[in-house]
């Protein structure tokens, strides 16, 4: 399986990254590409930018562990995860997850699994810039619930 995990300040090119996963691979029948974008509005108030702090070393290790778990759970031929850090202006891309497989169901499921885990387990912290002031974003309970459902599925599969 082709696996790429990259953390960077710079923007990324999602189409070019997707092309890398299909190039020379006759077995790819489906590519799912998810891009997370910095919203310009939060709770009705305009946002200037987000600043993402991360834990270098652990962030890469944690994402790589989840990429391996995804490839254990679904038949994937390629995975690319790129997460930006530093200051990201409203409208800019933050994160890219691309999964490649022979069939769409594995690609969709693995992409969703990886995003749910990135939200709750990858050591990144968002600070939001609104009208000149910066505040840390609180973790959402809905993100925790989204990540937990994969654990429940896992247990069910293990029991069968």
């Amino acid at each position: 399986m082709k696996a790429t995990v990259r953390l960077q300040r710079e923007p990324f090119d999602s189409a070019a990254e997707a092309a890398k996963l299909t190039r020379g691979s006759g077995d790819v029948g489906a590519i799912v590409s998810f891009t997370g974008i910095c919203r310009g509005v939060e709770d009705g108030e305009p946002i200037t930018a987000l600043t993402l702090e991360h834990y270098p070393g652990m962030a890469e290790a944690e994402i790589e562990r989840h990429v391996i778990e995804a490839s254990d759970r679904w038949p994937l031929s390629g995975v690319t995860v790129i997460h930006r850090h530093g200051r990201i202006a409203a409208g800019e891309d933050i994160v890219l997850v691309i999964t490649a497989s022979s069939h769409r169901d594995a690609a969709f499921a693995a992409a969703e699994f990886l995003m749910d885990y990135l939200k709750t387990r990858a050591p990144f912290w968002k600070q939001v810039e609104k009208a000149g002031s910066k505040t840390w974003v609180d973790a959402k309970a809905t993100d925790g619930a989204a990540a937990a459902r994969w654990t429940t599925t896992h247990r069910r599969e293990a029991a069968q």
């Binding site: 702090e53 834990y55 939200k119 387990r121 990858a122 050591p123 990144f124 840390w136 973790a139």
Partner: protein, 85 residues
């Protein structure tokens, strides 16, 4: 034994530094006990760890629970719940 402590996001801001190296205090065995010990070091630490149940921790780049033993740890990190993605 010395251990490197690292702090992120508002934990880092409240403590006022990103990292430090400490001698492992005697009698402290778990991550949770270490948080309690740090809280007693000063107002900035007490502020950072005022709600210890919300603080997440990692030992050598892996998530751990507060009852995880710290023996043998090279680097212990404390941070708020993560908000990436």
């Amino acid at each position: 034994m010395s251990v490197r402590l690292r702090y992120f996001a508002w934990v880092r801001e409240r403590i006022g530094k990103p990292e430090e190296v400490i001698e492992t205090p005697s009698g402290i065995q778990t991550v949770g006990e270490l948080m309690g010990w740090l809280s007693a070091r000063g107002d900035e630490y007490a502020h950072a760890f005022e709600n210890p149940h919300v603080i997440r921790a990692a030992i050598d780049h892996r998530h751990v629970r507060s009852d995880t033993p710290i023996k043998g740890a090279g680097e212990i990190a404390f941070f708020p719940p993560m908000t990436g993605g």
